[in-house]
């Protein structure tokens, strides 16, 4: 099973507002919890999510330790031209996941 779920339209009319929904598997360990031996479990979170539409950033989200595991992110943008949407999640310990979607705009 992929670690990412994405739901976005494959096609749209120019000017349509399109919704993009994502869910990524990630523990979002806050860094504030004590482990079994009493020491803090090191922070391990996704810090940043971006969406680039044909190379132009159209959405950016800064995530914090207060966000629960497996973040669900939904946002909307305007369908302007045929091309690709690149979704990118980056965070602690070199975490980086990228998904590329294509969209046909008429």
């Amino acid at each position: 099973m992929s670690s990412v779920l994405v739901n976005a339209p494959r096609s749209a009319r120019r000017g349509d507002v399109i919704e993009i929904k994502t869910l990524i598997l990630h523990p979002m360990e806050s860094g504030f919890r004590a482990g079994a031996n009493g020491t803090l479990i090191p922070r391990d979170i996704i810090e940043r999510f971006t969406c680039a539409y044909n190379g132009v950033e159209v959405f950016r989200l800064a995530l914090s330790p207060a966000i629960a595991a497996n973040p669900f992110i939904a946002f909307s943008t305007v369908a302007t031209e045929t091309g690709t949407l690149v979704l990118r999640w980056t965070g602690d310990n070199g975490f980086a996941v990228e998904e590329t979607l294509s969209i046909a705009v008429e």
Partner: protein
């Protein structure tokens, strides 16, 4: 820091103190207690109030003259039992001196001083117990309406809905896909959706071997999960597909016309769909002002008196019972504690601190039972689990143990229904 709850509690205590002399007088001539709702919680409470103090005037107000039990109703859906075996009457309560009124309660006075019935009659009382059970939270799942439930049954209130789902499964062609959805917590009978999936799978395996079942879940963890999933691997390999929250399992809307359950990431069209929707306390709890914004009823953990409406006790599935799940056995245990606490209060005594037990059996197949038990006590204003006091079936038990637990489950049902209605 003083919370709103503390203020309400202080108010509740002040009101209780003010009423004490009047209630003591009332008791001398037999205080009047009304119990609204005749399920496992309400019927138990009415019966035990009368047993613990025969001088009490106890009235049970219930809309139906026959109770249809939810525990074991998954067996009806799977064709293992008849609905008749789920029906119980109130004659035994009547013989023990509980006054029975078969009418819906339509209004409750503030402070629980009276109950209004469907015909407009008002019954006055000194103490009120609400045990109304659940209502489907229509509106919480877009597209799921009472009309939609005639096509996509919930079968989460036993009766016509149970039989509807049974008929749909029988009529389904071999190869049809059954899709179930389970809600986020809290809801009635936490292991119920998984027992149901198991028993439907049992039916499919024997009768519709090309069919499969998909269970879409708004949670990533559920009651007795490892036991269920291990049993599914053994008994129903490839038949049950469980899709948890993090795999996109949360159903966000339904389309009844096409029998489609819609998540944020996919559309699942079913041959038979069973939507177990979000729930809340039954309507009378809202009307009585004992339900909070969650839709459920906050209570203090010693006598289950509402923290919102002093004088009104709430027990069973409608109440927020902390760590204690919404189950028939829990309702039965809460009802006894509530009855004893009411009698203590009426006599001017402080109720003793209770210990409550819940046991819950689930059938994965007719000869394969698993169980969980918990023990609870009041702590910090809520019922808390006593660590180490409960337990679950062992994960590595053999078939004989599972068969024995299935037998124990049958005994559990016979015992609790005999105690409450027999």
């Amino acid at each position: 820091m003083t919370s709103r709850r503390d203020v309400l509690k202080a108010t509740a205590m002040a009101a209780g103190a003010a009423l004490a002399p009047r209630l003591a007088t009332a008791q001398a001539s037999g205080a009047r207690v009304i119990v609204v709702g005749g399920g496992f919680a309400g019927a138990t409470c009415a019966r035990w109030l009368k047993r613990l103090d025969a001088r009490l005037s106890v009235t049970l107000v219930e809309a139906n003259d026959t109770f249809i039990a939810c525990p074991f109703s998954n067996g009806v859906i799977a064709g293992l039992r008849t609905l008749e075996q789920q029906r119980f009457g109130y004659a035994a309560l009547g013989r023990e001196g509980v006054a029975l009124i078969f009418s819906a309660a339509t209004a409750i006075d503030p402070g629980g001083r009276s109950v209004t019935l469907a015909d407009g009659q008002r019954l006055a009382c000194d103490r009120l117990v609400l045990a109304p059970g659940i209502a489907i939270n229509w509106g919480a799942l877009p597209g799921y309406t009472p009309q939609a439930a005639e096509r996509l049954p919930h079968a989460w209130q036993a009766g016509a809905q149970t039989l509807l789902l049974r008929r749909q499964l029988e009529a389904m062609p071999d190869g049809g896909v059954v899709i179930m959805s389970a809600p986020a917590n809290p809801f009635r009978c936490p292991p119920g959706p998984y027992e149901r999936a198991s028993l439907i799978a049992h039916y499919l395996k024997a009768n519709k071997p090309k069919s499969k079942l998909i269970l879409l879940d708004a949670k990533d963890a559920f009651s007795k999960q490892r036991l269920f999933q291990s049993a599914w691997t053994t008994l129903y390999p490839g038949l049950i597909e469980w899709v948890g929250l993090s795999a996109g399992g949360k159903v966000t809307s339904v389309d009844a016309a096409s029998s489609t359950l819609i998540t944020d990431f996919a559309r699942h069209t079913a041959a038979v769909a069973n939507v177990i929707p979000p729930q809340k306390a039954a309507r009378i709890a809202e009307l009585a002002g004992v339900a909070d914004r969650t839709g459920w009823c906050p209570v203090e953990p010693m006598s289950f008196e509402s923290t919102l409406q002093p004088g009104v006790h709430v027990i069973g599935d409608a109440a927020i019972m902390g760590a204690m799940p919404k189950s028939a056995f829990a309702a039965n245990a809460q009802a006894k504690v509530c009855a004893a606490a009411i009698i203590a209060r009426l006599g001017g005594r402080t109720p003793p601190e209770p210990r409550l037990i819940n046991t819950c059996y689930s059938l994965v197949a007719p000869d394969y039972g698993i169980s969980i038990a918990g023990v609870y006590r009041p702590a910090n204003g809520r019922l808390a689990d006593i660590p180490g006091a409960g337990g679950v079936s062992p994960l590595d038990a053999d078939g004989a143990v599972r068969a024995q637990e299935a037998q124990l489950a049958e005994g559990w049902f016979r015992t609790i229904t005999a105690e409450v209605f027999g």
